[in-house]
Structure formats: C-alpha cells, structure tokens
C-alpha cells in the first residue's frame, strides 16, 4: 500500500471519471449497435455477414492498443518505478486478453463463410494467436510469485520483450501474402472504406475504448483496496 505514489489522488480522479466513462460506454454501445445492425447497408458481396466486422475490427484494434499501452506502462514502471503504471498493466491484461479472444472468435466465425474454414495458419491469424498467448503468459507470470511486486516486475520485462509481436501483427498482411485482407482504415493515405461503414465502426471502437477505461479504473481501484486490507492484516503480524 505504501508504495503508491499517491493512491488517494488516483482514487479521487477515478471516482470522478468512472461515471462518465461508464455512461459513455452504454450510450456508445447502443448507438453503435444500432448503426451497425440497422443503420448500415449490407455488403454487396458479403451480405449481412459483414456486420461481424463491427465487432471484429474494433476488438482487433483494441487487442493491439491495449497491449501497446501495457508495454508503455511497463517501461514507465521499470524505468521510473511508478507504482500506478505497474497496477495499470496488471489491471488491463484480462481486458486485453478478452478483446483478443473476441477478435479470434469473431474472426473465425467470419472465416467460415468467407474462406470456407474456421482457421488457417497464416501470418496474421497466427501472430494474433501469439498475442493471445502473450496475454495469458503475462497473467500467469504476474500471479506466479509469492510476492506480488516481483510478479508485476517480471511481467513488465515480458511485456517489453513481447512488443516485437505488435508490428508483426500490424504488418503481417503487407509482408506475407495472407488470406486476411490488408488495412483499409488505419493506413497511409487515409481510409478507403465507405463512410456508411466507417461511422458505425468508429462508434463501436470508441465504445470499446470507454469500456476498457471503465474496467481498468475499477480493477485498479479494487487492487488498491485489496492491498490496503492485506496491509492491515499483515501489520497484525508484528513481532
């Protein structure tokens, strides 16, 4: 507990942000789901299966975004020893793993009609699978130590080592020829996707982001409180 640079300030801040981010999540999700289910046209090739995209693509973006953030937090935690950075990575991991799982599942659901198979071992798909394993490995590592501090620090090193995978995922479609289609939104020279599809996509992406922020705030708070309790318990062990 003593380790938090200033947990009190963090708790105040999170209490102020949380209602807003939670509210925004609900509103954005409703709007996004409406737009993607009813407010956008079916694809001329894919028909209604294209609607999987509004889940799949934001989830894929989030899986990369969350990992990158965790790696940055890990660097901050290692170099400046900022305790909140450590807690952030630990709190974000399950959420990131969840997004990655959603990306994998929706991807293979989409793959069945589009490619005729649930799964192929191509570069994009496998590198995302590796990302998923990195998330799981991180979570296992963090919890594998007698001292939670040690777990978090070891996890930080792993996060930094694993960051090499992120550019591989992002550029796998360009470097190797894969079944998966190349980027059309986040690319040099602007998006090449129709705005009727772009908008619902962006709204869903925003909804996922606010969801992520809310959950992480909650989890960091829970962790801080759990450690307070632990401290109280251990201070009885004096002597």
């Amino acid at each position: 507990m003593h380790r938090f640079a200033n947990p009190a300030r963090f708790l105040r801040l999170s209490a102020a942000i949380l209602p807003w981010s939670a509210g925004a999540t609900v509103v954005l999700l409703i709007v996004g789901l409406y737009l993607s289910l009813f407010g956008s046209p079916p694809d001329y090739q894919q028909g209604d299966t294209v609607r999987i995209m509004y889940i799949h693509v934001p989830a894929a973006w989030m899986s990369l975004f969350v990992y990158t953030n965790m790696a940055i937090a890990a660097a901050v935690g290692l170099v400046w020893k900022h305790p909140l950075a450590d807690l952030f990575a630990k709190a974000a991991a399950p959420v990131g793993a969840g997004f990655t799982a959603v990306c994998l599942i929706t991807g293979s659901l989409w793959g069945a009609p589009m490619w005729g198979t649930w799964w192929v071992w191509d570069a994009r798909l496998t590198s995302v699978l590796i990302l998923f394993f990195l998330y799981l490995g991180y979570m296992a590592l963090v919890n594998a130590f007698d001292s939670p501090e040690r777990g978090i620090k070891a996890g930080n090193v792993l996060l930094l080592v694993g960051i090499v995978n992120v550019p591989i995922i992002k550029f796998s479609v360009d470097w190797w020829n894969t079944l998966h289609q190349p980027s059309s939104v986040i690319r040099m020279g602007g998006p090449t996707i129709d705005s009727t599809m772009l908008w619902p996509l962006l709204v869903m992406a925003l909804a996922f982001t606010t969801y992520f922020v809310s959950v992480v705030l909650l989890r960091v708070k829970a962790e801080i409180l759990a450690r307070r309790i632990q401290t109280l318990r251990l201070s009885e062990a004096q002597g």
Partner: protein, 227 residues
C-alpha cells in the same frame, strides 16, 4: 579511512513495515552488532546494507557518496546470509576457489586453501559439498570472506551451526580484520565477543503498532517507492 553509514532508513518487505527511522554508522576498524528478537529485521537490514534490498526510504553512504546505485558497492563487501552457495558436486576447495577468483584473489586456490586452514577444516578441502555437515558447510561459507579481500563484512547469524571452537576462531578472525582497518556488521542471538562493537537493537526501530506511518503523503513518488 572509509566510513559506511545509513540515514533514516525505512524497510518495507512485502506490505509490512519492518523498521523505520534507523541510522547507523560504521567506521574503519569498527563493528556493528545487530540485536533484537525474532522478526525484528536484522536480516532485512543486512540485505539493505548489501544492496540486495532497496530501502523504502533513507539513504546509504560510503564515504559520504551514495552507495545505492553504485556498481562498486558489491566489490566492497562480503555478504554471508542464510544460504550457503555451496555446490554439492564441487569439492570444498573448488567451491571456495571460484568465489576467491571472482573476488579478485591473485592465487585463488592458494587463498582458498589458506582460508580453510584458518577455519580449522583443511581436511574437508577435497570433500564434495554434499557430504559436509551443517557446521562444516558453515565454515566453508565463512572461509569465503577470508579468501578475497573486502573492507566490509556483512554476516547474518554467522555462529549458527558452529561449535564452540569455531566460534572462538571466528572471533579471532573478526578481530584481525578490524585491526587491519576492516569493518563488520553482524547479527546474532548467541554470545560472540566483539570488543568495542556498537550495538543496534532493531526492536527500537519497529514502527509503533497501529501507527500506520503516513507514507501516502510522504512518499515522494520519485522512484524510491520500490520495495
């Protein structure tokens, strides 16, 4: 004349505050005896002194230069903790020569043999580590401090498992080291003659129970917060 000192040290292990506001100072030829009941933080303080554990707050200084992030600090000390670092498949002499050579001894094997003799166990030189009794292993561990020179010795309960003759030997060795300008900090529950040693009672620095030391406001978030 080197001086090793610590100011306002606070030690946190896990989430437990072990001691706070502790100061110490050892000068050339001096000795520090760490006393206190079980769990009062003697081992923790020695690890802090060795640089194996970061103090939560406070600073350590060698000749007035901060020793915490000093790469040289390890070379200035010999640390003997509860673990013995004895490899079961290497003989006592091989075990010792390796550490002697890393410590910078000119003739590692010779220095190692001399150290074993000084500790009264030349006959174990060729015995593999796994056959040593508790006390023989302890003597081998202690021989490490003799096999290579270092000004500051940090010994955590060095007399454990030693018979009386060995304790007398150790006292002689410590006296000699101090006479040559060396420093010693050691923890013990047993009687050991350490003339002129300053005593540090760890239980005097225990945080008052219930007083949860208001670290939140104090912690300056500048990196010292790592436990």
């Amino acid at each position: 004349m080197p001086v090793f000192s610590g100011t306002d040290l606070t030690c946190l292990r896990g989430d437990r505050l072990v001691f706070t506001g502790l100061d110490f100072r050892v000068e050339s030829g001096g000795a520090l005896l760490l006393l206190g009941p079980n769990g009062s933080g003697k081992s923790s303080l020695l690890r802090v002194m060795a640089g194996l554990l970061r103090p939560f707050r406070g600073r350590l200084a060698w000749d007035d230069a901060a020793s915490e992030d000093d790469d040289q600090h390890g070379g200035r000390i010999h640390y003997v903790g509860h673990l013995d670092a004895v490899k079961p498949v290497l003989t006592a002499l091989e075990n010792l020569s390796f550490w002697a050579s890393l410590g910078g001894a000119a003739d590692p094997a010779g220095a190692a043999m001399a150290a074993l003799e000084r500790l009264g166990v030349p006959h174990i030189a060729g015995v593999p580590g796994r056959y040593l009794s508790a006390g023989q292993k302890r003597r081998l561990t202690l021989a490490r401090v003799l096999a290579a020179p270092a000004p500051l010795w940090l010994l955590d309960e060095p007399t454990v498992a030693l018979d009386r003759a060995a304790v007398r030997l150790l006292e002689g060795i410590l006296a000699e080291h101090r006479a040559g300008g060396g420093m010693v900090a050691l923890s013990t529950h047993a009687d050991i003659a350490l003339p002129g040693a300053a005593e540090l009672h760890l239980d005097h620095f225990a945080p008052a129970t219930g007083d949860d030391v208001d670290l939140d406001s104090d912690a300056n978030g500048d990196g010292e917060a790592a436990a």
